[in-house]
Symmetry: C2
């Protein structure tokens, strides 16, 4: 109990310092913020080569992870080598080149009583990022929060503790060199889940929590949060191939959606095919087995693709994160819409069609953060949609829905200019 | 325990029916939604006269409230007489005349790969309103949610149970007559706080909870919610009278801010006066005692207004909801900004100034949902800011900050039109 009490005080202290820094940051000029970002990128480049304090800290993390028997894929995500560090530096440089979202004035209009009324973009305040292994998230998040005038508390995974501490030092020194408060960016020491519970319980002290990681982490944060949370749950993405669709295009969308990067959240998980094109289309999908695709289909699908495994009910609505595709044959667009409403995850949904009317109906009726007509589900990504950078993909509708860029890290306050008006 | 279990099932059932209705509503035409609103207004007018089922139900509520010894001001808020019912009908008719926010397409642009990418406004889904005595909130909320394509669960106070049930029946019949699902609007039977806890715990089943009422209710909802909440906390509004300000204007802003309607959230609670104008200005404020104003000031204030009571530390940061004004003399704009950062409630803050530079600094540095230059705090109101109608005033920054109109009841989903593009 005692150590918990100390931890709470520590977290409250971090949050208080963040709040103070946030107040300064909220009116910082774009020039000062960009100077900090450029300094971060320079410091990263200066520490990219082997033997730097950053590389040494990271080597310790990697060694400890290997010694603890962490899966090779997870160890790989921890590694900061020269190309990766230069890549992170390039991303920070790019963020410096973006427009400052803060201060943008929207919809300024004159009211009948002569008041000028509009809204102006402001930072949210103090943001807590809670994430797992990848240390690049530390710098990306710090850069996006700085640019949007927010103070950030970074709570990364235990495995990357030394790397994150070194990155934190580097970033804080760069921020200070630009004349901004170091506490704009603070590293929260990793702890057990209890520490996360305390952090997300700081009602009024933190303005937003963004968890990034597995579904377990996100559910834990949501369950215990007393501050607003933007969730990024799984992506169970569907493609509906409509009656009369261009089947060459449909095959390209399946191949790209499922096989270009099966482990990401905008990968295709389930193919819905109108019965009128099933016979012509599905054998072509079946041939993707040569590229390693495993198909799990309903009875009608297996009649056309004999090699397909039977789909269990769990296969619908599942995020495989692997080259596995669930397939179902449907009798109508409505049946496809019902399937998506039941099994979709509000992430990304696509239709392949030649029909104007059905394209319109699909894009209106589907509730997902991104709805695509005749395009790959893989396009639901901040960079591809033109946001430049993203800090997460929200699958809940409050505040942000879909990829979150700099603008999603701001709010709008009302501003009124008068000449003494009263009501 | 048994009755709680039954209640949970009942609430889940209500939420499920709301979800189903929300799916239909999300693609309903503006014409159908407006038809429902017009039918609601007509039904209200038809039941405005004494003896109608609505008036009879309301009379029972009022009688029970009087018998229970409810304060006269609270009893008054319960009453639905003919002018009030006609007023509610007029508000609904006005909401019908507003543009439909759903379907608006924003920022559609072409990407280098030829994809057309934009965002489209969609309803949030299922909204739960939790509120206290006033039965007009039942109809206002139903109308705003209908217009924005959301299904709503209305959980009003016990005192208004019969009135709300009657209004619910009237609204549901009108909705049905317009060809929309009755479950778009459902009345949640009032219960104890445990019932509220269960309602706001329905994660995934409700998209947004909006509590309207006393601070106790809002804190209770925030503490127990597992779904997003938009809070409307108290309004502790300040006016800073700057060095060199137009003192006639300043007096008008004080009088209007404090005395026009002391019981509302955008009323003025604290006056900050620059020391250089204190001697000329404060005696004029002191004369407002003739209009019933009670002043509580710091020592410097009391030196200028001898009749002022001494301000305790609790008087700063307090929402008096009465003709009481806290006053403090400050040495600079910075001191005023510090005071507001410490004691303000992020609701409404105003400056009276002739200085361009200080007007700019104040409006940038103050963190409040509405910042006013040379205008009364009373203007922080959906109608006055041009939103038409409001469903609440958010004092937290996520999703909405300040008065929430129809647009605040929507989200934006990404929409992508392609010709077979892949990554």
């Amino acid at each position: 109990m005692e150590s918990t009490a100390i931890l709470t005080e520590e977290l409250v202290e971090l949050a208080k310092r963040a709040r103070k820094a946030a107040r300064t940051l909220s009116t910082a000029s774009r020039e000062a913020k960009d100077r900090a970002l450029v300094a971060i990128a320079e410091a990263l480049r200066a520490q990219a080569a082997e033997g730097s304090p950053l590389r040494a800290a990271n080597a310790e993390d990697v060694e400890a992870a290997r010694a603890a028997g962490l899966a090779p894929a997870l160890v790989d995500r921890l590694i900061l080598d020269e190309p990766r560090i230069l890549g992170i530096a390039a991303a920070v440089t790019q963020i410096a080149s973006f427009e400052d979202p803060v201060g943008e004035v929207l919809g300024m209009k004159q009211r009948p009583n002569g008041l000028s009324v509009g809204q102006v973009r402001i930072p949210l305040g103090v943001i807590a990022m809670i994430y797992e292994a990848r240390p690049n998230v530390t710098v990306d998040s710090a850069a996006l929060c700085l640019k949007s005038g927010n103070a950030v508390l970074l709570r990364g995974g235990k495995e990357a503790a030394r790397s994150n501490a070194a990155l934190g030092e580097l970033v804080r020194a760069a921020v200070t060199s630009a004349g901004l408060p170091a506490d704009a960016v603070q590293i929260v020491p990793p702890s057990d889940r209890e520490g996360i519970r305390l952090l997300v319980g700081l009602a009024g002290k933190i303005d937003l929590v963004i968890p990034r990681g597995g579904e377990g982490l996100i559910r834990f944060v949501t369950e215990h949060a007393r501050v607003p949370v933007i969730q990024h749950y799984k992506g169970v993405c569907h493609l509906y191939v409509d009656e009369g669709a261009d089947l060459n295009m449909a095959l390209r969308l399946v191949e790209n959606g499922k096989l270009s990067r099966p482990g990401v959240c905008n990968a295709l998980e389930c193919l819905l095919v109108h019965e009128s094109v099933a016979l012509a289309f599905l054998p072509r999908v079946g041939k993707l087995a040569a590229q390693g695709l495993e198909i799990r289909g309903d009875q009608a699908t297996r009649a056309v693709i004999p090699s397909a495994k039977p789909a269990s009910t769990e296969d619908y609505g599942q995020e495989f994160l692997a080259p596995i595709l669930a397939i179902r044959i449907v009798g109508s667009l409505d049946e496809a819409l019902d399937h998506i409403a039941q099994y979709g995850s509000n992430h990304t949904e696509a239709i392949c069609t030649r029909s104007y009317e059905r394209a319109q109906r699909f894009s209106r009726a589907v509730d997902a953060s991104c709805v695509l007509v005749n395009a790959s589900t893989r396009f639901n990504d901040g960079g591809e949609l033109g946001l430049g950078a993203e800090i997460g993909i929200s699958t809940t509708k409050l505040h942000a829905y879909g990829p979150m860029g700099l603008e999603s890290l701001t709010a709008k306050k009302w501003i009124v200019f008068g000449e003494g008006q009263v009501r």
